[in-house]
């Protein structure tokens, strides 16, 4: 049994006549400790998948299973608990709390989790050891994204979900961020799922799921993912 299983999953928006299918019979699996990238153009339904995986949304039909738990059947309460304990999110626009310092942003997430990591350590790991007390406004985009990652990571989640984590970043910082994410998977055996439209970063993944027009177009297993440093885009 795979760590993440998505079986015949559908997501519909709107009512009968104006029904839009965001996900149309999506099937895939991701193994534990893998770095998976869901690739697709805008509107391909990749973010919907991510939202459903992250417990932020529910599918209209089908089964979504994470670590053996069928989250597709969860109530909103259960979903919140799932988000809280099992999921770490990294957003395109970082979504840091501007009034809190870097460390506090991490602590905010840590606060609600049982066996969380030490925020300071995590921040040091993402290279922000010197900027603990800086506020988001005082940090660069990359640094902010690293804080966001630290926040997600510090929760010690089962899966780390990243929505266009490099979307708002320049090439260099983007790479830094990807490095961290890859390290999370490689070193900490975290299951990392990255959603992106940028196929250039696909090679670093253990598994690349390509979405097109609400369906899974292909699933590629990459036995030897590229090093981030080798990546060019």
């Amino acid at each position: 049994m795979s760590y993440i299983e998505v079986i015949h999953e559908y997501k519909r928006y709107g009512s009968n006549e104006t029904e839009i299918l965001a996900n149309n019979d999506v099937n895939f699996t991701i193994e534990k400790g893998e770095l998976a990238i869901i690739l697709g153009a805008s509107g391909a339904g990749k973010s919907t998948i991510l939202n459903i995986l992250g417990g932020m949304d529910t599918c209209s039909e089908g089964i979504v299973r994470v670590d053996g738990h069928e989250i597709s059947g969860y109530s909103s309460e259960q979903l919140t608990a799932y988000r809280r304990n099992d999921v770490g999110f990294v957003f395109q626009f970082y979504n840091l709390i501007t009034s809190l310092s870097a460390k506090e942003n991490v602590e905010l997430a840590v606060e609600i989790v049982k066996d969380a990591l030490d925020p300071k350590t995590v921040l040091e790991e993402v290279g922000l050891g010197q900027r603990l007390d800086n506020f988001p406004a005082q940090l660069s985009g990359g640094e902010q994204q690293r804080v966001a990652i630290a926040r997600a990571v510090a929760k010690n989640p089962k899966i780390l979900l990243c929505d266009e984590p490099t979307g708002a970043l320049d090439y260099k910082t983007g790479k830094q961020v990807l490095q961290i994410l890859q390290d999370m998977s490689r070193l900490k055996q975290s299951t990392v799922v990255i959603v992106t439209h940028n196929s250039a970063i696909a090679p670093i993944a253990d598994r690349v799921i390509t979405m097109h027009d609400a369906r899974v177009k292909s699933i590629e297993r990459n036995a030897h993912p590229k090093q981030i440093a080798d990546l060019e885009w």
């Binding site: 939202n51 988000r83 809280r84 979504n95 709390i97 905010l108 506020f135 926040r151």
Partner: protein
């Protein structure tokens, strides 16, 4: 403004209804509080002023316990600046069979008129108008009876005691039905008043003078000008009447003395009258006896008369019967007579024939006799002639003889006369000689004459005498022969005559018989006539008898009736007498007793007159007059509202302005992109600002107008409703107050527009391009707290987050704190004041004043009265009592320099006194000792006078004598002013011996009803001058408390609403401003509750902070109000109760909790994905 922009504004309005409404509400609450509080006081005053104007309420009232006599009146009238003065009567009575005391006033014509609320003013002496508070218990047309105690003179003042109710009135002098003042009848508390015509009063003095002044006309009685001017007049008048007490007393004593003397005279007269009545009764008794006798005799007379009349009638009847019989007999006799007459007539005819023959025979014989007779007669004549001549000769002889004898006798007589003359002595010689000569002549004559006589006798007389006698003897023989012949003749004649006689007799007999026949005939005729006459007469007799009978019977009947009437009259008289006597006997004891009582009365009156004290005059302003408690309380309520108006609206507006500023700022922020687009399209800043301004203006104008409207109506009406329980004059008149309306409009609109303008202006200063970009997020920064490492490090993460957020949104923080603080302050203050006021009655009468009444004794008490008082004091209803010296004193103090009444108490037993009044320091709660010299004064008095222990206080007694006393301590006291001192201090300060004159009484049953009834039974006693109960004060306080409660309830509601609006608004802004942040933490796995709490923790903290700050402000406010607001004889309890903190906290927390639910629901629905997608 462009049409599209209007459309835009309206759509903005539609989509942000909640925001629009919250601005509207804020402004509405603010203007409601401001306008409401600002308008109510003036409305109340204006209503009262109008009312006072209508009833021409007097400015000053002068009262005297002995009334106002003519001198008093002149003095009062002489005061300067007088506009009008009116004197009136009044008398306190109780409604018959009850303890309900009523002051009956004469209907004033000029000042302090009664205003009719139902029915009409009295027109006759039998009509009365009652105070409108009796409207429930009586109706127009009902009869009401009063019991009146005699006044000073013991005489009733009212002529009538039963009246027909002609209507109901209100009076400016007795505004409040809750507390009408004190009285000396009933329970001691005046229950109401009534008005009757002045003619109902029978009093030589007026009891009250009402004055109004020129310079106070048209001036608001609530203005200081009025107060100042009245004070001047009061002082002037007080000065004027300073000497009146002594004057009046002197005059009164003289008058009463005259009355008593008159009374004694009257009594003497009455006794005399009584005696006279007694005598007249006795007289009536004898008159009755007499009458009885008279009647008896009259009865007897009547009986006799009746018997007699009956007898007479019987007789008359018998007579009539007899007459009838006689008549019948007469008729019979007549028949017989008639027959006899016929037989007689036949006999007579036969005899007549026989007589005629005998006549003829007789006539022959007679002729024969007549011849013989004539011859005899001639012979006789011759003889007679011869005898006559002889006799003549004899006579001549005798005559000569007689002449001689006479001459002789004459000679003798003359001689005798001469001799006797000679014998007389004293004769002259000549005389003697003459006389002797005469005698000698006579003596010579006498023997010659005597010789001549002797010769005649012997020679002539004797021879002739013998011759004559012979001749006479011859004649006698011849006479005898003649007489013989005569005799024979006479015999013949006799025979003839006898025949003749027989004839005549026969004829006579015939004639006789004829006559008797005729007579019989006549008799018969007569008899016949008589019979018919008798018949007639009998008939008449019968008629007359029946007439007589009727007459007699009528007469008798009449007499009997008269007699009966007389008897009846007598009986009546007797009854009358009996009644009179009975009545007299029945009454005599009581009358005599009355006389005795009267005598005692008069003695008592004399005693009273001798004991009369100086009268007490008082010049009272409207705030001091009896019954003026209502006037003061009314003003208190108005000024309470006023003082609330000074503070409360400020908070409201401040908070409203801040909150609407925040709200509008948020609105402008939200519209940023829109504004940028518009600007980019070429709209001018002015156009865009106008959009916000229109929005703000619409909300604030609507809010202001609503608030102003409600403030002008709802608030005064609510307050009016609150106090109307005790006030029944005209309902509050609502006045549109332009000034405050404008202020409210300006403030309200300003609150919304100014911040809007500033915010919009600032925003629009940016270039359109910048505007199109989202506003830069607020930067995080270090906060002050962070620098305090030890503290900061100790804070939990959540708290740090809260702290940071708090400081990040400073404006909102202040807003929340202020909003909550404002609400809480209002609530704390409102509840605090409410409690302060409502608690004082409990504190005062629960812990401080524990006596239920002061029973004041009169100055002169008889042993019996004292005995009665002692019995009542030992009554089972009385728990305990102690004797004290009690005196009402006064001092002028306070803002209006009103006279403050002070109760002076000097205990007879210092140790026991604490059981009746607890003397203690309020702050320390330590008991105060009476054993130290100096006086203990009540706290409010000390406050008013600004004095403290060691200071001095100058008080006045009823006769304006001043005493300066040193204060030893200030005791906790909430209602009324008190002075307490020990006997030693009293003696030295007042230079008077100590004697008790009152009793403090504590009852077993302290319910209002029982206190009243016990009080009434004390009042009935002669020894009791008055009873002072605490109930009136409690009532008075209750009225204020009720009014204040209502106002406070409104304010509490308003404050709560304010809290709701503020918190809702701020929370809303908070949520919408931080929606991204909230989405983030939601995504991070915060449960809904945690999300809510994440943001709400701040609100709670700020609320708590606001509450705490509110406590402070509220307490300050409360302290301010309870110092400013209370009437001068009342101190509000300064402590703030636990509840006045707890309730606001609960209110705010409840609002928070409810809002939290609302926020929670809203956050649940937040689409975290949507929020995360957008870039901000």
């Amino acid at each position: 403004m462009k049409r599209k922009l209007w459309k835009d504004t309206f759509s903005a309005l539609k989509t942000t209804k909640a925001r629009f409404i919250s601005i509207l509400c804020l402004i509405m609450l603010g203007s409601f509080a401001l306008v409401g509080l600002k308008v109510t006081g003036p409305d109340m005053r204006a209503s009262a002023e109008t009312y006072f104007e209508n009833v021409q309420l007097a400015d000053l009232v002068v009262l005297s316990n002995y009334g106002l006599n003519e001198t008093d009146q002149r003095v009062i009238e002489s005061v300067n600046g007088l506009r009008s003065v009116e004197f009136g009567y009044l008398k306190d009575v109780v409604i018959d069979q009850t303890q309900t005391s009523i002051r009956i006033l004469s209907v004033p014509q000029q000042l302090s008129l009664g205003e009719s609320v139902l029915g009409e003013l009295p027109k006759t002496d039998r009509e009365i108008v009652l105070d409108s508070s009796f409207k429930g218990s009586y109706a127009v047309g009902d009869t009401i009876a009063f019991f009146e105690d005699g006044g000073l003179s013991g005489q009733p003042v009212l002529k009538e005691h039963t009246f027909t109710i002609s209507g109901f009135i209100t009076s400016g002098e007795y505004l409040s039905s809750v507390n009408r003042g004190k009285t000396t009848v009933g329970t001691g508390d005046l229950s109401g008043f009534a008005m009757v015509l002045p003619t109902v009063f029978d009093s030589e003095v007026y009891m009250i003078a009402r004055l109004s002044f020129e310079d106070t006309t048209g001036i608001s009685p609530y203005s200081s000008t009025y107060t100042d001017r009245i004070q001047v007049h009061k002082d002037a008048l007080t000065q004027l009447i300073k000497n009146q007490p002594q004057n009046h007393l002197d005059q009164l004593k003289a008058d009463y003395q005259a009355d008593i003397d008159q009374g004694r005279l009257n009594l003497a007269q009455a006794i005399a009258t009584y005696q006279k009545t007694k005598a007249s009764l006795d007289a009536a008794y004898s008159a009755l006896e007499e009458g009885t006798k008279t009647i008896a005799s009259q009865q007897q007379a009547y009986d006799q008369a009746s018997a007699q009349a009956t007898k007479q009638l019987v007789l008359a009847q018998r007579e009539l019967t007899d007459g009838q019989q006689k008549l019948n007999a007469g008729k019979e006799a007549f028949e017989t007579g008639t027959r006899t007459y016929s037989a007689g007539l036949d006999e007579w005819n036969k005899q007549t024939i026989a007589i005629a023959s005998k006549q003829t025979e007789y006539e022959i014989k007679l002729k024969d006799w007549q011849a013989q007779d004539a011859a005899a007669k001639q012979a006789q004549i011759d003889l007679d002639q011869a005898r006559q001549s002889l006799l003549d000769q004899q006579d001549s002889l005798e005559t000569v003889k007689k002449a001689y004898e006479t001459t002789l006798q004459t000679l003798n007589t003359e001689m005798q006369a001469l001799q006797s003359a000679l014998a007389q002595p004293g004769l002259t010689a000549e005389q003697q000689a003459a006389l002797e000569a005469q005698l000698t002549v006579l003596q010579e004559q006498s023997p010659q004459v005597n010789q001549q006589f002797q010769d005649f006798m012997t020679k002539t007389y004797e021879p002739l005498q013998i011759v004559l006698k012979q001749a006479l003897t011859d004649i006698s023989g011849k006479q005898s022969q003649l007489d013989q012949g005569r005799l024979i003749l006479n015999q013949a004649k006799e025979t003839l005559d006898q025949a003749k006689l027989q004839l005549d007799q026969g004829r006579l007999e015939l004639r006789e018989s004829k006559k008797s026949l005729d007579q019989s005939k006549q008799t018969l005729d007569q008899a016949q006539q008589q019979i018919s006459e008798n018949e007639q007469r009998l008939k008449e007799g019968q008629e007359s008898f029946s007439q007589q009978q009727t007459q007699v019977q009528g007469l008798l009947k009449e007499n009997l009736e008269k007699l009966d009437n007389a008897k009846a009259e007598l009986a009546l008289k007797q009854r009358e007498y009996d009644q009179a006597r009975k009545a007299f006997n029945a009454q005599s004891a009581s009358i005599e007793a009355e006389f005795a009582a009267k005598t005692i009365d008069l003695d008592g009156a004399q005693q009273r007159v001798d004991d009369l004290e100086l009268p007490v005059y008082s010049v009272n302003t409207r705030r001091e007059a009896p019954g003026s408690d209502g006037y003061k309380v009314y003003e208190s309520i108005a000024s309470i509202v006023d003082s609330l108006a000074h503070i409360f609206p400020l908070f409201f507006y401040f908070v409203a302005a801040l909150v609407s500023a925040t709200t509008m700022t948020r609105f402008v922020d939200e519209e940023r992109t829109n504004s940028g687009t518009l600007k980019a399209l070429g709209y001018s800043n002015r156009d865009i600002i106008q959009k916000f301004m229109v929005y703000g203006f619409a909300a604030s104008l609507l809010g202001s107008v609503l608030g102003i409207f409600l403030g002008h109506t709802l608030m005064p009406l609510i307050v009016n409703k609150a106090y109307s329980v005790g006030y029944d004059f005209a309902p509050i008149a609502l006045h549109l107050q332009l000034g405050i309306t404008l202020i409210a409009l300006v403030l309200g609109i300003g609150c919304a527009l100014i911040p809007t303008y500033i915010v919009a202006r600032r925003e629009l200063r940016e270039k359109p391009a910048r505007l199109l970009q989202p506003k830069a997020p607020v930067r995080g920064s270090k906060i002050m707290l962070e620098r305090i490492k030890p503290l900061w490090n100790r804070l939990s993460f959540t708290h740090k987050v809260v702290a940071r957020n708090l400081f990040r949104y400073k404006k909102r923080m202040f807003m929340t704190v202020f909003g909550v603080c404002g609400s809480v302050a209002l609530l704390v203050c409102g509840l605090g004041v409410q409690q302060s006021i409502s608690r004082i009655a409990d504190q005062q009468f629960g812990g401080i004043i524990t006596y239920d009444m002061i029973v004041a004794r009169t100055n002169y008490i008889s042993d019996a009265q004292m005995e009665a008082l002692n019995v009542q004091l030992q009554d089972s209803s009385v728990k305990q009592q102690t004797a004290v010296y009690y005196e009402p004193l006064s001092v002028s103090a306070g803002e209006t320099q009103d006279r403050q009444d002070i109760t002076l108490l000097v205990p007879s037993d210092n140790d026991q006194f604490n059981a009746y009044i607890t003397l203690k320091n309020r702050q320390s709660q330590k008991p105060l000792s009476l054993n130290t010299p100096g006086v203990i004064i009540s706290e409010r008095l000390a406050q008013l006078l600004g004095v403290s222990p060691g200071g001095q206080i100058t008080v006045q007694d009823a006769n304006f004598a001043s005493y300066t006393l040193t204060i030893s301590a200030v005791t906790e006291m909430y209602i009324g002013h008190f002075l307490v001192m020990n006997q030693e201090t009293y003696r030295t300060s007042f230079s008077q011996d100590y004697a008790t004159n009152a009793n403090l009484v504590q009852l077993n049953d302290t319910s209002l009803a029982n206190v009243k009834s016990v009080s009434a039974s004390f009042m009935k006693l002669g020894a009791v001058k008055g009873v002072e109960q605490n109930t009136t004060l409690i009532n008075q306080i209750n009225t204020i408390v009720t009014s204040l409660n209502m106002i406070m309830q409104v304010l509490i509601i308003v404050a709560t609403l304010l809290a709701v609006v503020i918190l809702y608004n701020l929370t809303n802004i908070n949520v919408s401003e931080r929606i991204r942040e909230l989405s983030t933490i939601k995504v991070l796995g915060f449960f809904d509750k945690e999300v809510t709490l994440y943001i709400y923790r701040e609100t709670i903290l700020l609320s708590l902070l606001g509450i705490v700050v509110g406590y402070g402000f509220g307490t300050l406010l409360q302290q301010y109000i309870i110092h400013v607001v209370p009437p001068e004889n009342v101190m509000f309890s300064p402590g703030v109760g636990f509840m006045s903190y707890l309730i606001p906290t609960i209110v705010i927390l409840t609002v928070n909790i409810i809002l939290e639910k609302v926020v929670n629901r809203r956050l649940k629905r937040v689409d975290m994905l949507e929020a995360l997608k957008s870039v901000d």
